[in-house]
Symmetry: C2
Subunit: 233 residues, 2 copies
DNA sequence: TGACAAATTAAGTAGCGACAAAATACGGTT
DNA sequence: AACCGTATTTTGTCGCTACTTAATTTGTCA
């Protein structure tokens, strides 16, 4: 009685994965071609292809046409992050969300913003400084620049009812997104806005988005002390 | 003359993507079933499947058997990070890598480590404190716990020639990896090790790895001031 | 020997068909 | 109306074939 013993691509993936981490194939080594593995494991090449694609996505192996598949010489830890809309993040943690518009300025992009957007000359921007609150306490302070070339409708929006964060994510999907993480010390002004002591260590998420090389927005999300960002489960 | 006009799954993906962000389908809306889209776009269902799978991976839509495909009600920014071995990271930035073993202790897991590993009782661990250097200057200080149950061979390793970071990544691949990012203020001890002022804001990468629910290692990588983590290009 | 062209190789993609698995919808029974 | 089992629907997966594309290797000619 042969129970339905068809190999799933995940089985194939795990088997190859095990083979690599058992040392059968070391960093830089070339693996057999898909077709041979398929024959050996008695499955279709397409199944091996899917397994290999997954291993390639997860950073364990590298694949090249004609070159075959080889174990990455310099392995990396690859992780995926989900960054939700801030309102959603607060609510999912069980907090009551609030937000305050602090300042709203219209001016040309300064050098630093030009640099992050890879612009060669100043363009009109909207600068929005706002505070996200959780249960009435400061949660994230965001300092945002929005390209008025790309998002002219932003001028007429009332940013006190809906945060720029939320409006943009819902209405201006992007093609390209760069993230940058680091820590800063709270200066006097930040300390006051975030209701903490000057000098406190703050975790910063900097995000820049484009659609087809047209800049949309760049934002420094300066989190209140104690904030942690986790990889998605 | 009909040039070879077969649709690629990326074309299908982009078309659906555009349809969503043009507002034809809003958050929460249900998309047509794969088969219908395939017919409409004159391609095979498998092509649509691949396109949809990709959109699902990137966080734009959610798919459920029988439930169909719908636009995510709460969109997220999804990003992928590559964290290389520290030596590799330093060298790729053009720095000269060095590393110092600061302390090496054998003891049972304290409560905090038990918690991150989801252990119910203390187990023997190796604690390794080490400093990574770039051009002779402190780069990352790592405070690491290694499970001796899972990695007993660690006891006999000479951690002065090869860092625990490098040995583990090369020799102990993992199944599961949790990451956590946040900021801390340098205390007197950290300030001294990282050659900075007490109170400086430091970016911390905390990483915990398992293989099949057996804990391998957990490490706090405390970066020197100015360190930034970027999403992969 | 060196440079360019051609052949070869191995992954990538498209299509088709069939079946599996998971949700949901439905319908009957109490 | 509540509960439970069954049918249906829709995505997920596997296998097979054929063709495409990118690299590398080989071969040829100057």
């Amino acid at each position: 009685m042969t129970t339905t013993n068809r190999l799933s691509w995940k089985d194939v993936r795990d088997e190859i994965h095990d083979a690599i981490l058992s040392g059968r194939y070391g960093p830089g080594d070339r693996l057999p071609r898909d077709a041979d593995i398929a024959e050996e494991m008695k499955c279709a090449r397409s199944t091996v292809q899917r397994a290999m694609q997954d291993l390639s996505d997860s950073g364990l192996v590298e694949r090249r046409r004609k070159g075959g598949t080889r174990v990455r010489a310099h392995p990396v830890t690859r992780a995926t992050l989900d960054i939700p809309i801030t309102r959603r993040e607060v609510e999912q943690k069980g907090g009551r969300y609030g937000h305050q518009l602090i300042r709203r300025t219209q001016m040309d992009a300064p050098r630093s913003v030009m640099a992050t957007f890879e612009l060669t000359e100043p363009r009109p921007m909207l600068r929005v400084e706002a505070l996200h609150l959780s249960d009435g306490r400061p949660y994230i302070f965001e300092d945002r620049w929005i390209s008025l070339d790309t998002v002219p409708e932003m001028i007429d929006l009332d940013l006190t009812t809906q945060s720029a964060n939320e409006w943009l994510v819902l209405n201006k999907p992007y093609n390209r997104c760069d993230l940058r993480f680091y820590a800063i010390s709270a200066d006097a002004q930040l300390a006051e806005v975030l209701d903490t002591a000057p000098g406190a260590a703050l975790f910063v998420i900097e995000r820049t988005t484009w659609t087809d090389s047209a800049p949309i927005t760049t934002v420094k999300a300066i989190t209140a002390p104690g904030y942690q960002l986790l990889t998605r489960s």
